[in-house]
């Protein structure tokens, strides 16, 4: 039973029953306790907890209900892109609960559950599942036509999302322009090493990391990982030419390396609000904090857009772990290996009591070690490299039992899978890349030959290898990125001869270095990266969820192909797979593999759907930026005022009235 149910039984508030003793590398600050409310009940948290990590620490496992079938959903990835962790915070819908940090007094609620998360009335849809297959609405509701508006009303009632309130205060945060020589997308070890190398070569660098700290997978890489992280972090801090943005994500790379970066963190007031030390500015466009912002107890998360014209872009986003498709794969308690390693190492949360682990790679093996360290009882490890497999998971409201390859049924409350990776090639696709599938590595790789000259790639997305190899590659890439940036700066000024002089004097470090040196350095040799073999594991022996947000199963995809929607694009549009809030990050490759198997083609022949910006969702307010209302006066305005004219507002003009 969950901690909350136990607490309610006791008649007391929830406690963090699953919190572990302090872990090296944990990001929570145990000296700063907070509390927040979840569906009306107060929960404890530490500063640095995310909403979901705090709830998981209290033993909660169910955070939402799925779109169509209203199945209970829990943690899957414990990162920003986690389909079951979308919650409503105050009047803000669709908040990513496994990324959003807890702030004191926060009011968090589950979305689209009635009467409650536990006893959701629309759960009855689960029984109708065999009839409500994907695309069922194309086959019905046609006659009589006059009833279509009524049918539509019913369909709209099932919209699984947060709500907008007409009273939401209009928030128009500031935007910022930046002109880095090199923009590094991704603050894991590769990104950090590339940024350091570029800065040492004289470039102004902007390093953008989606999570709240730099380090990527080093943060849960044990003692060795943390030591390497410390070393890299010190190098980054020692370079004055690197601007680090954490809790920030590159939304898209547009033509000409025009790059949109979204800063998400709390801590900066909305446009116009007074900050400590400021004189009172114009009326705030957004919520005004009472008193100095630093002391404000509840600081709303404000998104701010940074628009960067980078000379070169280094793409180092790492890899996203993929879920495995099998019956019951969406039950609360079924998690990816990165999820358990984040929970244990970053948030000191025990993910469960009894675990079965399906592992096909070293990260899965490392997760087993982490689980053991956290005191979780590892009941069975299925090694996919030796023929192990998970057939099905079952349980009401969460995992209770798992059936494995040899037919054994094992009781457990946690099932961890580590079956492979997806390359987030979004920024590369926008640069002309068409990734190529490698059956050896069971994932897509960028096609370096197709990349634009001003875009470079490093890190896990480019290849495998140990930390030393990846760092060496990233260092070479960073140096080369700086070199190309200097060359681009030079070329741009030469293409506009009349302004060349002005450009050279206005250019930053790279421009000055470029102008000063007469000999252009040659290209940096980029070492190759190995490509490790990885078993191809996409879908198991039973039908399971492919798109968790859209409730699309492998059965739906096979049905779509059988009905003639036999390309990945048609199957996507018919079933709506990959069209949810995650936009395919966890779904696309599995969907491609299933369509490929149904059509008898290879994954390479089947291709994928298109990554499109924004990489992560961005609010309309952040995109719009401040609303500047120009006011125009004629040159006679002072005379009008001196003679007591009443102002007449005529559009943007102020004219005299009378």
């Amino acid at each position: 039973m969950s901690a909350r149910a136990a607490a309610q039984r006791r008649g007391s508030a929830p406690v963090a029953a699953m919190r572990l003793s302090p872990q090296p590398g944990e990001v929570i600050d145990r000296s700063r306790e907070l509390s927040f409310s979840w569906n009306g009940v107060e929960y404890p948290a530490y500063h640095g907890d995310t909403i979901i990590s705090a709830l998981a620490a209290a033993g909660e496992r169910v955070f939402s209900r799925s779109l169509k079938y209203h199945r209970p959903r829990g943690l899957l990835t414990a990162g920003f892109h986690d389909p079951g962790c979308m919650v409503q915070v105050g009047d803000e819908p669709n908040v990513r609960g496994a990324h959003r940090l807890v702030s004191g007094g926060m009011t968090v609620g589950s979305q689209n559950t009635w009467p409650s998360l536990r006893f959701d009335a629309k759960g009855v849809n689960r029984l109708a599942g065999r009839y409500l297959t994907a695309g069922f609405y194309y086959k019905t509701f046609m006659q009589p036509r006059a009833l279509w508006p009524a049918y539509e009303g019913v369909l709209r009632r099932f919209v699984n999302a947060g709500s907008v309130s007409p009273d939401t205060a209009p928030g128009r945060p500031e935007q910022r322009y930046a002109h880095p020589d090199v923009l590094v997308a991704g603050g894991g070890p590769a990104g950090m090493a590339a940024a350091v190398a570029a800065a040492r070569a004289g470039a102004h660098v902007m390093l953008v990391e989606e999570d709240h700290q730099l380090g990527g997978h080093l943060r849960w890489g044990g003692e060795a990982g943390l030591a390497a992280l410390g070393e890299l972090a010190a190098q980054v801090a020692a370079e004055p030419g690197i601007e680090v943005l954490t809790d920030a994500v590159v939304l898209g790379r547009y033509d000409g390396n025009w790059i949109a970066v979204l800063e998400r963190g709390p801590g900066r007031p909305a446009a116009g609000a007074a900050a400590p030390g400021d004189s009172a500015g114009p009326v705030a466009a957004g919520p005004v904090a009472a008193g100095p912002v630093a002391a404000s107890p509840v600081v709303a998360s404000t998104e701010r857009l940074v628009k960067a014209r980078a000379k070169t872009l280094v793409v180092a986003p790492g890899l996203i772990e993929r879920p495995y498709v099998f019956a019951g794969n969406d039950l609360p308690g079924v998690m990816l290996s990165t999820a358990v390693r984040r929970l244990i190492n970053l948030y000191a949360v025990k993910p469960g009591e009894r675990a079965v682990v399906l592992t096909a790679n070293a990260d899965g093996d490392a997760a087993v070690a982490d689980l053991k360290r956290a005191g979780v009882d590892i009941v069975r490890v299925e090694d996919a490299r030796l023929g192990g497999d998970v057939v099905a998971a079952s349980g009401r409201g969460g995992v209770r039992a798992v059936e494995v390859a040899d037919g054994t049924r094992i009781l457990c409350d946690l099932l961890v899978t580590a079956v492979g990776w997806t390359a987030p090639t979004a920024l590369l696709n926008a640069s002309g890349d068409r990734p190529v599938y490698s059956a050896r590595a069971a994932r897509f790789f960028p096609d370096l030959a197709r990349l634009s000259d001003d875009v470079l790639v490093t890190g896990g997305i480019a290849g495998d290898g140990g930390l030393a190899e990846l760092t060496q590659h990233a260092t070479a890439i960073g140096t080369e990125a700086a070199r190309r940036a200097a060359r681009i700066a030079r070329a741009r000024s030469l293409a506009c001869p009349a302004s060349a002089a002005a450009a050279a004097s206005a250019a930053g470090t790279v421009g000055a270095v470029a102008a000063a040196s007469s000999a252009e350095p040659g290209p940096v040799a980029i070492p190759g990266l190995p490509v490790d073999a990885h078993p191809e594991l996409f879908a198991g022996r039973t039908h399971g969820m492919v798109d968790f947000s859209e409730d699309v199963s492998s059965k739906d995809l096979l049905g779509a192909v059988a009905e003639g929607y036999d390309s990945v694009e048609l199957a996507k549009r018919f079933t709506t797979a990959t069209m949810g809030p995650l936009q395919g990050k966890l779904e696309t490759i599995n969907a491609v593999a299933i369509v490929a198997s149904a059509t008898g083609q290879s994954i390479a022949e089947t291709g994928t759907t298109t990554w499109r910006p924004p990489y992560a969702p961005v609010t309309l307010g952040a995109l719009a930026g401040p609303a500047h209302q120009p006011v125009r006066y004629s040159p006679m305005q002072p005379w009008h005022e001196a003679h007591g004219a009443a102002p007449l507002v005529a559009g943007a003009w102020i004219r005299p009235d009378r």
Partner: protein
Amino acid sequence: MQASANGHRPGRGRTRYPARYSAFGLLRRGLVQQEWPPAWRSQPMKDRYDVVIVGGGVHGLAAAYYLAANHGITDVAVLEQGYLGSGGSGRNTAILRSNYLTPEGVRFYDRSIKLYQRLAADLDFNVMFSQRGHLTLAHSDASLRTMRWRAEVNKIEGVDSDVIGPAEVKRLVPFLDVSAAARYPVLGALWHPPGGIIRHDAVVWGYARGASARGVHLHQNTEVTGIDVADGRVRGVRTSRGDIATRVVLNATAGWSTLISDMAGVAMPVQTFPLQAAVTEPVKPFLSTVVVSGTLHVYVSQTDRGELVFGASVDPFTSYSTRGSLEFIEGLAGHVLELMPALTKVRVLRQWSGLCDMTPDFSPIMGRTPVDGFLTDVGWGTYGFKAGPVAGEAMAECIASGRTPEIIAAFGLARFADGALVGEKGAAAVGH
């Protein structure tokens, strides 16, 4: 079947589908776990057809369907270089309306609306046409006058449109800022109840299903690489999968229309611009009509899944890129928040773009060309999807009868050489 406004021959019998769609069918097949047969058949490509249609979007597929259904011409091939509906038909914001400015325009798009209303029944495919009403906001006196002009022309042609004031606009769209403090105050709007939104992919699939059931061949992943013209008439097409002998080729493409027409040696006054669109995450339904603002160049609707779908005008320079730009979503977000400031926390999920063939007079190029047997249904700019059914019906008539139907007489290619351009800019410039 009712006679059309143009006196077209009624369809030759109902289309016989391999399995009719119905709630009962869902129940039965769900019970016994039986799969549905394919929505359209996959056929080997022949080396000759009576008619070859280039372009597997709504225009091409509708033309194929009406050729078969209205005229009994079934030896037809639709050639699509990608997957069905991969062009504009799969990228538009699916808004339907008939509140145009010129009488010819109103008649034309109204015929389309009438066909759309029957489409689900005709095609046995729920295309989900939601006639929830279409609102075009006016932010200036001049704009309000144009709305009044459009309303009167609409009414004369029997189309329901009227001008309403800010109070009624607010009642229809509670989230809209109609106060005087708005930067672009709403002075009124053109309210068009028959307008609405539709599931664009479903229209493509429905027409494909109907055409295929009547014997039309659909060939996806088939790129046209050349058109053989001899003595001023079409002899055949060359494709990436082989050559086809034919006497009739219909160019029903968008974005590629000049490339295809160049193959036949026909020059056209078309320039290709990207038209971008974006969609947000789902939020609980709060917007029940389509809202368009001409001044702000933005249109927005909410799907039954709860997502807001937005669009604006074409990009400011010609391009064949579908990558999208940051300026587009920034500008769009700014304009949407001018209209509905409370949406500031709603998140944009995805942006994309399609290619629009713009003509000098914001009207299409339909009918015969100087090359015998080569016809076009192109130049649809930003208003092609809403015209799919009527265009397909008219082109089918044009091909079958050899004469240009009255309804498309004003849209011939020759009008540019003759200087007889159409004046639809007022209603088509922000195409939605």
